[in-house]
Structures are given as structure tokens and as C-alpha cells.
Symmetry: C2
Subunit: 446 residues, 2 copies
């Protein structure tokens, strides 16, 4: 009977929304235990807090009254005591009290991972055709949000200090001259150990970013979304203060953080600290999405924060991720230190999960290219850099980068995986080689 029926009539939004590329990469290595995957940004499996959550659940559910309350519906904004703890925690990361940030528990909204808030905040600000400014390269799931909302994406170059503020100002000035400033709604930055590059925005640029965005907030207020998902996984010296910390009247910056990276993704809980006038529209939207995230998970996390289990776990993770990052950086130096040294480079992240590897421009890291296939034959997968560039119509997507995740792989496998990757790179380079008209050295100097 279905054969007689016409197709469903899909909405414009459904037709705009693209399938996330990561699905493809998950498939590639699925069921192949011999393949080492640097592709998928899961967290370290071994350190997931199973014993801790068991204790937390037992404590929570042994108290009949609180236990039952945790299994009842919660509120759209989230558990009130947890929001209080989050306001204090977020401020404390900047060495401040919530009042010094101009925030209180009512500025905190708990969500299903921070992703849900990135989506909702964008959705309440951006109409199709509005402009969102993002990093180049940037976080590809947020790029998916932008495609879904129909935003026009303008990307801003990064260097080793993060988004270039001169380039941000130039982009805004271009837009202003074109009379299109009213269409700019959001500046998005993943500013700690960025996905995909691992780069942290420098301290100086944080205040500058806020100043520039304020200066161009003439038609309406432009929202900075500070996606600080990897902030608590900073493993070297303390990371710089948040952009939010310079927004002392809580007017311009949404600070989005998560319990996924520093505790347990399976609890699917994140949060944002919002300016007052965004709270109502965001909660109205969340009310129709799901009228509130898991109350049980929120009770567990509140307990984790109160007992100190959360803080202890973050310390443990920092030690683990530091060792893994160091293993990847030293393997890269050992295996690729002498490969086209003027054109090959990689980032040295201060934490997080990612290293960004740049190869000579004549090498193609794309999923349909020779290197990706060779790497798979060697038994290693990476995330082709091409997936990490937003749909900025003014730019050409480079094809000589890759994202390497050290989060999921144990240290011996990191060393083995980088050795495999280096073999694949050398073999592919030997077979293809630099184009004769543009030798590698010249390429590197461009």
C-alpha cells in the first residue's frame, strides 16, 4: 500500500539540514578491532567514572524522598540547587563569585549536553539568511546547526592564539559597509583547546573580542557564544579566564559548558550561563523541545559536585589526558619530524582531545583521497580536515589537514597509530609526490 502513497512533504528546515559527516566515519571503523581510530571525539573509556556514579546513585536512591524526587519530572530550566552550584563553579573557574559576573542561578539553564543549548540559542536568534561568524576551521556539529537554521556563515582565520581579532573586525567592517550589520546575530567560538585544532584563544584576544563585538552591536546586540566544552580539560598551566569574565554586566556572552567532557557523556548534561534577556526565549524554546533535561542525571551531578567526586574526577582526567597528549606529540615528533619539515606541522594543545596536523598542500587528506585509503589499509583512521570548515561561500576549503583525537586511544595505541599514519603518509607521498611544477619547498613557503 505504501507504494501507492506519495512522499512526505518535508519542511525547508529538513531539506537544509545535512547528515553529520561523523556518522560516515563511525561506520568506517565499525567492527574492525584492528583499526586505531583517531577520528571520533569520544572521551577516554578507561577513566569513565563507573564506580563513582554507582556510589552517587546508591547514595541518592537510598534516601527515599530525594530518590523519588530525582525520578519525577524536573523543571524546564533545571534543578535549582544544581544551577546554584553551576553558577558558583563557572565563576570559580575564573576565580570569581557569581555576583562579580553579574549572574545568579536564574542565569543558568541545564540542557541535554551543551549541544542542545548551542542549538536553541542559535535558533532563537537566527533567521534563515542571518549571519553567524565562526572560526575557520571550526566545530563541525555547530556547522550543522548553522546549516539547519539557514544561517549565512562567515568564517574568521585562526592562528596559534585562536581566532584572529583583526580578521574578525575586518569581517564585521565589511558587513557594516555592505549595510548588512543587522543580519549579524552570533559570533561563535570554541575558545579552549578548540575542536578541531586544540588551540586556546589567548588572554589578550578575549577582551579584544568582546570589545570588537560590542563596537559592532549597533543595530542590535550581537551574541558571543563561548563554547567552553574543553575548558576543564586544560592540562598545562591554568587556562586564561573566560570571555564571559570580561562581560561583567552579563550582557553579551553566553558561556556554554558541559559535564560530558569532564565527567561522563552518558549523563548527557550540559549548561549555559545566559544574559537575562535571553533566558525567557531560550526556556520557551526548551519547553517545547522537551520541557527539561533528565532530572535524575541532574541529581547525580549535584551530588558529584557536593561530595567532591566531580572535582576529583576532573583532576584524574587531566593527568590521563596530559599523558595521552604528550604521547601523541612525542610520537608525531618521532615519526613525522623529518617529513617535509617546512610544510608539515601540528598544534601543541594545552589540553582537550585534539591535535591538528597540517601536511604539505599537495597532499590530500580527504575521505575519498589516496591517503585516507592508505591509512585505513595501515589500520588507522583520522578525521579529514575538510569536514571542519563551515560553508563560507567566500572561501575554498583546504584539503591538507586532519584532526587527530587522542581521547579514546590508550598510549601504546597512540604510538602505534601515529606510526601507522606516518607510514601511510610516506607511502602516499612516495606514490604521488609533490606536483613537479610546485615542489614541496615552494609549497611550504606560500
Amino acid at each position: 500500500m505504501a507504494a501507492d502513497l506519495p512522499a512526505f512533504g518535508f519542511s525547508r528546515k529538513a531539506r537544509r539540514t545535512v547528515t553529520q559527516p561523523i556518522n560516515y566515519l563511525l561506520q568506517v571503523a565499525l567492527g574492525r578491532e584492528d583499526v586505531i581510530s583517531f577520528a571520533v571525539g569520544l572521551v577516554d573509556q578507561e577513566s569513565l567514572p563507573a564506580a563513582e556514579v554507582k556510589d552517587l546513585a546508591e547514595g541518592l536512591l537510598s534516601d527515599e524522598q530525594v530518590g523519588r524526587a530525582s525520578l519525577q519530572y524536573g523543571s524546564t530550566e533545571g534543578l535549582s540547587e544544581l544551577r546554584r552550584a553551576i553558577a558558583e563553579h563557572a565563576a570559580a573557574l575564573d576565580g570569581l563569585k557569581p555576583e562579580q559576573l553579574g549572574i545568579g542561578p536564574h542565569n543558568v539553564v541545564v540542557s541535554s549536553g551543551s549541544q542542545q543549548l548551542l542549538y536553541i540559542i542559535t535558533d532563537v536568534l537566527v533567521d534563515p539568511g542571518d549571519i553567524v561568524i565562526a572560526e575557520w576551521p571550526g566545530y563541525f556539529v555547530y556547522t550543522g546547526v548553522l546549516a539547519s537554521t539557514g544561517a549565512e556563515v562567515r568564517c574568521v582565520e585562526m592562528d596559534e592564539d585562536g581566532m584572529r581579532i583583526d580578521a574578525l573586525a575586518a569581517a564585521l567592517e565589511d558587513i557594516r559597509r555592505a549595510g548588512q550589520l543587522h543580519r549579524v546575530k552570533v559570533v561563535y567560538t570554541c575558545d579552549y583547546c578548540q575542536n578541531p585544532t586544540g588551540i586556546t584563544l589567548s588572554r589578550a584576544r578575549r577582551e579584544q573580542m568582546l570589545d570588537v563585538v560590542r563596537a559592532y552591536s549597533t543595530e542590535h546586540r550581537i551574541c558571543i557564544i563561548e563554547d567552553a566544552a574543553y575548558r576543564e580539560l586544560s592540562v598545562d598551566s591554568p587556562p586564561p579566564p573566560s570571555i564571559k569574565s570580561f562581560d561583567r554586566d552579563n550582557a553579551q556572552v553566553v558561556l556554554a559548558q558541559t559535564f560530558s567532557k569532564p565527567f561522563a557523556p552518558g549523563l548527557r548534561s550540559g549548561y549555559a550561563v545566559l544574559p537575562d534577556d535571553l533566558i525567557g526565549p531560550v526556556l520557551d524554546q526548551k519547553a517545547v523541545h522537551d520541557f527539561g533535561s533528565s532530572n535524575f542525571a541532574q541529581h547525580l551531578l549535584l551530588r558529584a559536585m557536593r561530595t567532591g567526586a566531580y572535582a576529583e574526577h576532573v583532576e584524574l582526567l587531566r593527568r590521563r589526558y596530559r599523558a595521552k597528549r604528550d604521547a601523541m606529540l612525542s610520537a608525531l615528533a618521532g615519526e613525522l619530524g623529518d617529513f617535509e619539515p617546512t610544510a608539515t606541522r601540528w598544534t601543541r594543545p594545552g589540553g582537550g582531545l585534539y591535535v591538528w596536523l597540517t601536511l604539505p598542500e599537495w597532499m590530500d587528506t580527504g575521505k575519498d583521497g589516496a591517503l585516507f585509503a592508505q591509512a585505513l589499509r595501515e589500520g588507522v583512521v583520522y578525521l579529514p580536515g575538510e569536514f571542519c570548515y563551515g560553508p563560507d561561500r567566500q572561501r575554498r576549503i583546504p584539503t591538507n589537514h586532519m584532526r587527530l583525537t587522542f581521547g579514546t586511544v590508550c598510549e601504546p595505541a597512540i604510538r602505534e597509530g601515529i606510526a601507522r599514519l606516518a607510514r601511510a603518509i610516506r607511502k602516499t607521498a612516495d606514490e604521488a609526490g609533490p606536483p613537479r611544477s610546485a615542489p614541496a619547498r615552494q609549497d611550504a613557503e606560500r
Copy 2:
């Protein structure tokens, strides 16, 4: 500094989305322990499965490997074994095997409550100005979804057998004649113990609904969203088969169910069984919303289904809700049986959480009316019926109904609350009385 800044520029969607009325009602009784609330559709607190979930969590997290897996990211569609169990469970409720419904695990998507899927499915089908057909009265949170998507809402009358199929066919025929059939995307029904009336769609009408919607699926396929949230809380004889069970080629009906009502809302897990060609667009959308719901909750629920804890708990709930429903119906008969008997009536739900009370038309149940205020003085709140009618521009919202929830209140409080409500009704009627020009008896005959 915020004072110098202009306002944020909100999207059309943000401006369309309304604040859920339930927030107001939650506030009304907040912190007043003396008030008995029949207003808010939470579930029975006493029977929340704290001990069961404690055992499930302990079992799950004692197995280090599975425990850690449950705390890692899951997939966008949900845990594969759980989706298999859900496909079997949903089919078994109709006495069928999944194959007989033309479904498999890949047709199941797990979400943050069934609400999230109601939202996403509507969002992938409905553009602003498209038409959604819903019940009159209907589920007000879904009405919020419709406002948010910008749908034009057409409502169809109900009687004691649920949505009237003749009225549905007439509405579709009107739309067809107006050349607007291409705009009809969804027919939404809450078909078991409906929110707000408690009415269950009769068996005969289920097949008829599918036939009518198929007959009008000429421009494109119209999707029936069968919101079966209260299905497993049917407490009398077995409820009729799902509308989905007549859709044997799995082409037209989305069956949405939840773990909230029959197990624990705090785990915030629901699901839908989808036709093949809706899966991709729904998952693409869910991937940008949150790339998957809580993996930990899904592992707990899988364990609950496998150990039998889920089935046992549903049986327990049925006994409890049957007793509560009976308490409310007998209190209503005792307290209001002689009040304007030709104009006053209430539904006798076969389960779920709600009774729908109709008063004489000259009585105003609205939140700003005399009765609501009097009821609050007596120490009882109800949900004014006016909140339960979608924005159908062709209709006038009646103001003489109320929804009474027996889910949250224990039996003695049900009896006391109905006594208070009856006092409030009688006092308000005595003070206002029927308009002299339209005595009560006439009103009742209209």
C-alpha cells in the same frame, strides 16, 4: 554598560513561541502545602521506582565494561539493544511481532521524552503556514510546538469515542476544496486516555482515521502522529490496538511512546516508531539538537525491560492509578452528582491521569475568573480548560471546562480536593448564578 547596548535580535521562531501556561500554574501553588493541586500532570510520587532504579544502577555499574559503556556517548538514534527491545515491546502491546508491523529496531528512535520526537517530527514536516489537524481540546504542550513552528491549526471535535472521524473527513474535504491540501502535513492525536480529557479513541475509529488520512494523502503523504503516552496506563480492560497496528506497511503513522508515564519521568526517555522515510530526516535533526539522548538512562531502561522490573512496575502503577481514578470518580459523583445535573458532566477515563469536568456554560473556569480564585481560597487548583484548546482561528474557546489530574494526589487528598472544588463551584454559582436570560436548564440543552 548593558544599558548602552541595543536588544538582541530575536528570530521569527522565538517571537512565535509562547510561554507554556503550565508555568503559571506551577507558580500558583508553589510553596503552599495546604493547596491540593489537580493542575499539574506529574506522575504519582509514592510509586516512583527508587528501589528498582537503585538495583538497576548497581547491576549496571558493577559490570565495569558495560558500566563504562553506559557513561560514554551513545548514538543519535539510541542504544541498539534498547531499540530492539522497544520494537518488540511496542508490537507486543498489539499482540504482534515487529515484522507484522513492518518494523525493526532501525525504525525506533530514542529521545528525551516523547516530547522531543513530537517536536522534531513536526519540525521536519511543517513549514510556517502549513496545516496541522489536532483534537479539540488537545494536549497543550503540543499546541506550543505548533505555535513555535508557525503551523496553522485546525481542530476536530471529540466525543466520548475520541476524535470524530466524520469531522476529520469534513475538515480535510473543506481544505481540499479550498485547494490547500498540499499544506496539510500532520494529523495529531493523543489516542489513549487523552490529555486533557482522558478519552480513548474507539477501536472502530482507529482504522477509519487511517483510511481517511490515506484517502486525502494525494498531494503528499499526511503523517499521523499517534501520541500514545498514556497507553500503558490503561487500567480497565485491555485498550484498543494502536492506530499504528493498522498501518501494516509502516507508511503513515508515527507511534510515539514514553518511559516517563509507565516508569520514571526523571530518566527523560521516550521513543517513536517511524516509517522508513522519516528516519533519516528525524535523525539529521536530532544530530544537531543533541546527537543522542542519555546513554546511561537507556542502559538502565534496557536492564529494566530485560529483568522484568519494567513490566512489574507497570502492573503496580495500573493498580495505583485505578484506585486513584476510582476515588476521583466516586468523589465527583458524591460531591457534584446533584449540581446542575443536566449541564455538569465528567469523563470516565479508562486510565491515564486525567478527568475532564464540564460545568454549565454560564460558569467560567478561566484563570482570571471567580471560580479559579474561589477554588484557590478553598485550597485546590485545577487546570482551566481554556489552556487546552489550540489556536484554531475558526473556533471560539469554551470557558466552562477543567482538567483534573489524579496522578499526583493520594486518595484521601483526592476526596478532600474534590470536596473543596465542589464547595468552590457551589459558592461561585450561588454568587453569580446563571444569567437570568439563560437559565441553567436551557444551557444544558444547547
